[in-house]
Subunit: 485 residues, 4 copies
């Protein structure tokens, strides 16, 4: 089966049966009709449909090596710079469609599983079966256009001192039993985004501080359907609302986050990529160049989102007649300079692509890592710019229903903007409110800040690529050595 | 009638009949039972009850000059430094009760009307009747513990060029007719906070750019019951929810903002403080020292809010075991230094009090204006600190209902914190989410940023108090003049 | 005559006779032996010699269209993307040689005169002779490897109100007489950097606010030898010192700034590029794409300078054993992310080159303008990082002479660093002191901040390139228009 | 002998004979005539003379308990709030005289030795003799108006790993021998400011990481004349110049920093305050409340310096006609808000004074520690404001000698400012250049940033005073506990 349609995407999810708690109640009925999932599923269905759209298919797909049927380009393991450009083309089509607000649009996890696939050889060392499992799983995802979620952050409780000491009592996710059929896993993961609206979950815990031994119960990676027995999902409250006018962003892009609980879940052997080896956990991760391949996808998203915010700023400037204010010029130019930087980093990442040593090609890591350092600062800064420009006007914004009341004739007069009707202006300010003060925007800001880890982690990633580079040190040493003529 | 009880406060509001639109429907039934007003009214009723609480009454009231009955201390026109201290005492009791989250706790507008009262003499110039109206109105508010709202920001549309040119078509609020019974007013005001839960509204538009003439239809100030014929209120969507666990802040402190529409409202002559004179609009405002008296109240609120955020940070630090991290020490110390500054500015404002030239005393303006410059930066900075410390953990926070489901036993294990049960920790993170990512917090940040105007306006207020001060210029000129020995 | 040698460069300057005041005395004798000019001239001579270095000549020169002799690549008017790359190659060789500390290395003004040349056609409108003059002058500079300075900022006094009103009394530079031999010019220019160590000065005042008329005496551009009768130069104090150990930067890179006074200077007709037409002043400037061509050169300089600072930071980190401190990782990563951005912007500027409509090619303006917005913030931030990391250690730094005293044995022990001798470490800290606290560094910071104008001016440049771009506005308008399903 | 005169101050220093290396040469001759010390000594002499000035003596001195003769108020151990006010009065007179630019004006070390004196009792535990030594030394300083320097920072080399391991080889300052006459000390200290222009040096190394034992050779504190045999001073290069016009700040306020080398210096027993006990090193330091008493002095300095910078900004605004620019209003208001905060913190520190438990009174620690957190950020921010406002105009500033040349008539025209002659304006810009770009200003910025330690250290000081405070934690815990009605 090749790329799936939006309809297929929805049907598969609706047919799942995992227990999923929302505000004290089990989600029953079709997920695609539940407020917490509806808008996102509609948006995502549109994304999937684009892959079969005759006008876009050429840009969005390639032929599966298995049967030649069209599969999503974000699954393509790049071997040439042109592959990287094609991948960016496809990923940008999606990013432009969701304006960068989906952190987990399908290309993200497609890229993730592709990146692990490129490093499958590493697993041979532990067992050729593991390598085979990973390759098969990648092909399965690609050829069935599987929608994946990702579970990796463990609850803070798993780190509370004392609780790590005894393996028995450890809260961290672990193998509690090994059976003929597979491993029995117990534990929990915070923040599996779209956990309730995916087909499968990739589980790959961050390395544990547990003692290093051959049968380390905390070290593993696997992927399974998200509705195996023993799995329970818990939702946070949704930020979504029905009305697209009132909640233009959350009504389309609200991605539910889930706490995923594993209570003696049996993971079949053929779905295990490795187990018991702490060192492999790190090696596979870094060997897959996950942050680099994914960083390429993320940069497409950054660019689309920045463009959307730029357009919002421009409309706000227009309707408030601010174009000639010096501080508005400076603030907007800050956004423009950010946008130019992001676009340039993407060009440079492709222009500087390097072989990964296993037959694939890698975008230049450093421009991508630089983007991961810049954007967690740029995004909140852009939101602050919107807040400063919109000032208190972004708070007292009525809802669309008000325009159908007796007060409407007044609103039509008092709420109009320069070159905008009152409804248009209100619609713009609903958007600005969602970005700059609403709950959806609050999560987006937090999400961008911590997307690839906290500031130290992200800094370290770039820093370490320079740690072996002596060019600049030597340049200054040489300069200083010449201080005597 | 002396200070009112919480019950009286609620009854008065419930008995009002102004058309108030919420999400396309007229609010009917008791406001105190409507989700959009309920929590706030309950909180505010508690504040009013404190004035009659035997343990607090002495600190919260003084004797009305009319009949010796206890009236609220925030109505007291200060004539001594001790009066300032008493005022601060009473205002702090309230601020500590609502932790600074109510921008319009009763003392704010009580102080406002008191400040205008201290400048009533200025109105004699136009007409002794105006001065008398203002004095009477102040006494009426004080002796009946009137809950006031404030309407002053006009819609942006009133400034769109072209529309100001002809008085006839002007969108800005204006006198459209003068009758024997009073003035007929048409126009609209954004952001009358608590407009739907007050007794009366003080209307005092910001000075208009209209031509200066004796019968300027845009210049006036008056106060009226908020349910006179011709008045319509429009609400934004509420951020409040029922559950105190899930929404600890908005369930108590959500103050609805209203668009207030005047459509040919008759304002009786005895409620008009001046009309037709643009210059008086500015003179009464600055002569009343509104920003200084109100700044004193606001500073009490800043301090209480900062203490609450500090406590939140400390609990977060405890439960995440972060006390020994250098960046946490630095961030917390930033909050502490801010808190110490605010407290010191309050002490200095009272220590440096000056006569206002009309028999009253004024806290030193400059420390208060400094606080109004510092807090709009400090508050967002503190919220950012919370966001940076809580990281992604503040997003995936379940609701209280989840603790009553089958998943509860898992949550009890996986969501616990250091020295906190899972429910306690979740409760803390709900608070942090509301402060740092939810809609309620989004409005708070925006509100603090623009409370007394934008950055330029607030800066100008302090700057202008120094513009006549040559001390420092001369000190440097003198220093430079000594550059030849 | 083709590219000149360092020796020729020095001889030409030494043979000049313009009155030049330094600390109350006329500079007499060879400029190359005067402390204020010596280090710079030595450095600059090395740059000129590189053009004839057999190993570098191919990368630094091209054949003059006049006689096929090698002339400097920075004079090349680019017509292909490859030309842009070649230009960057040559400019980077020089930038790497002076590590970006020379704001006026020869390629800067070479590029400037080249850019004006590309727009010479515009002058035909006023007079074919002007166009011819400009073309001839460009060829003269190219074929004689002329060292140019640039005078354009007028004294603040020229703007003091009242003094602009009457042309007669105006302080701004102006034509005071027109004679058969040329124009007689009187006025002054601040900040002609390297004014005392150039062959010629290009004079092109910023547009004046003077009334627009055909014989506007304030509008002109010309180039002349810097020692015509009537010219006087005034120096600021030098920051340079003899010792390369003690003052590693200023002993090499201190570029003297000059106030250039014109007192009835006769500018010959064939050196005038236009005169009397205010509008042409703006049109030639923007038509020449000066900021874009020069921006390309400047970006080479930014990159070299950032690399030098990075190396300095790395050595500092090494010698203070700070590599494992989280804040050092974050700070260094900030520099790395900046460096990656600058490099990417250069790649993108070339990848996106566009025709200029007159047969030449232009690097993409927007990445270059973005760099001009980013660097004035990045540079001071990098210096602050150095200050924060070096802390008080960068203050108490002895001089090289101390290592020859009786105290030397003590210094050898007490001043050593990790993997560095006391002399090496001291040498590094002298560099850090010059960058972060000395006068040379103080000027560099100020220079980078204001290189292409203040923040508003530089922001406006990028902002205006987007002002006609509706793509993003429409994208958001379209998004909002879809808010009703 | 009571307070000394400026003349006595100079004579004492001129009579000293310690080997002091400056740029490879021993300083011989009178220090008061050497460029590196001259301006500072002249300024400091003026400060000392103020104590005997009949108009100021009452404000600057109190009666010595020994003989009733007038001694400096900064030596007064405060026992009442009024004492604190008197101390501030005297310290402010000096701060206003040197505009806060002297980090080591005499009151700083006078206060330091006073603070150690208040904790002398602690030393009884080790030996009553130590306590007696400290009390005697304090009285000696007070009654002889001793000018003290302070040595406490050890070279970085003392921390390089490996070198700490063996006591024998340790680079850190240590007791190398104990004799009948005293202790023999070897080691070095960085940054003894004014080390070459003091009478005595207080040596009190920061606690060493050495093993804790009773005869710890690294733990001690003592005070000695700065010219005992075995002491050598090494200077950095001076930033001072002769001309007050050209270098208005450094010609008066340049305080030389010294590296102080101890090579087998014999410290007499009666000058030792403790030795051999690492724990006492910390206890005496914190018990003396050094940072609090000194913080009170430092705050006087902060206020005077901020006022001077404010005046400079005002003059700059005037001469550049910038008063109406919004960004100038905002920037200046930032300085004003800082100044108001500092003044308020001083008022609050005194208003909240507390007993120290040993019969003395202590200014409230927290406002002072808050000031120590705020100023290291405020000062560089103010300097940046000056840089941003003065822009490139602060670079091309001629020297006073230029006004005596043939170019003077031109300068008089071209360099004048609004309401300023060219000389006055140039004089102002020399000051601005020294503050914002010169070496003197570079040291000042670094000095203020690290005055009381780096950001973590200073933050920790305030943080730790709150660590036992549960008020705010409990307030929020209580709030959360009420989330169920």
């Amino acid at each position: 089966m090749p790329v799936k349609s939006g309809k297929q995407y929805i049907e598969r999810i609706n047919s799942q049966s995992v227990p999923c708690w929302y505000k004290g109640e089990l989600v029953t009925g079709k997920r695609s009709e539940h407020l917490a999932f509806k808008g996102l599923m509609e948006t995502q269905a549109q994304l999937y449909d684009m892959q079969s759209d005759p006008l876009l298919a050429g840009k969005m797909t390639y032929e599966s090596p298995v049967d030649g049927k069209p599969v999503g380009l974000s699954f393509l393991p790049p071997t040439t710079v042109d592959d990287l450009r094609k991948r960016r083309g496809a990923m940008s089509v999606w990013s432009n469609a969701h304006h960068g607000f989906l952190g987990r649009s399908p290309d993200y996890m497609n890229t993730a599983i592709m990146s692990f696939y490129t490093a499958a050889d590493l697993l041979n060392e532990l067992s050729p079966q593991y390598a085979e499992n990973l390759r098969n799983y990648y092909a399965f995802c690609r050829d069935n256009d599987i929608t994946l979620s990702h579970a990796f952050i463990q609850p803070h409780a798993s780190k509370i001192s004392g609780q790590m000491d005894a393996t028995e009592d450890a809260i961290a996710a672990k193998v509690v039993e090994r059976t003929e059929d597979g491993l029995i896993i117990t534990g929990a993961f915070m923040m599996a985004t779209q956990g309730a609206t995916c087909d499968e979950i990739l589980v790959y815990p961050s390395p544990s501080p547990a003692p290093f031994d051959d049968e380390n119960p905390f070290a593993f990676a696997f992927a399974i359907p998200n509705d195996l027995p023993g799995i329970t999902l818990v939702c946070r409250d949704t930020y979504a609302s029905e009305s697209r006018f009132n909640f233009p962003l959350s009504s389309r892009y609200e991605e539910m986050d889930n706490l995923v609980i594993f209570d003696h879940v049996l993971v079949p052997h053929d779905r295990i990529f490795f187990a018991g080896n702490e060192e492999m956990s790190s090696r596979l991760f870094s060997g897959s160049n996950f942050h680099i391949h994914a960083g390429h996808q993320v940069l497409c998203r950054y660019i689309a989102k920045t463009e959307f915010i730029l357009g919002t700023l421009q409309l706000l400037t227009d309707t408030l007649d601010l174009a000639s204010e010096a501080h508005v010029v400076e603030k907007t130019a800050r956004v423009l300079a950010g946008l130019e930087s992001l676009k340039s980093l993407a060009i440079a990442a492709e222009a500087g692509a390097i072989p990964d040593g296993r037959g694939f090609i890698l975008p230049a890591p450093q421009p991508l890592m630089a983007a991961n350092i810049l954007y967690p600062k740029l995004y909140p800064e852009m939101i602050e710019i919107i807040q400063l420009m919109a000032s208190s006007g972004m708070i007292m914004v009525p809802q669309e229903e008000e325009f159908k009341t007796d007060a409407a004739t007044h609103l039509d007069i008092y709420l109009r903007g320069t070159d905008m009707t009152a409804q248009q202006r209100t619609s713009l300010f609903r958007l600005i409110w969602e970005l700059g003060a609403g709950s959806f925007g609050g999560r987006q800001t937090q999400f961008e800040r911590f997307f690839f880890g906290n500031s130290i982690t992200v800094s370290n990633r770039l820093y370490s690529t320079y740690s072996g580079v002596d060019t600049y040190r030597q340049l200054v040493s040489h300069f200083l050595a010449n201080t005597h003529r």
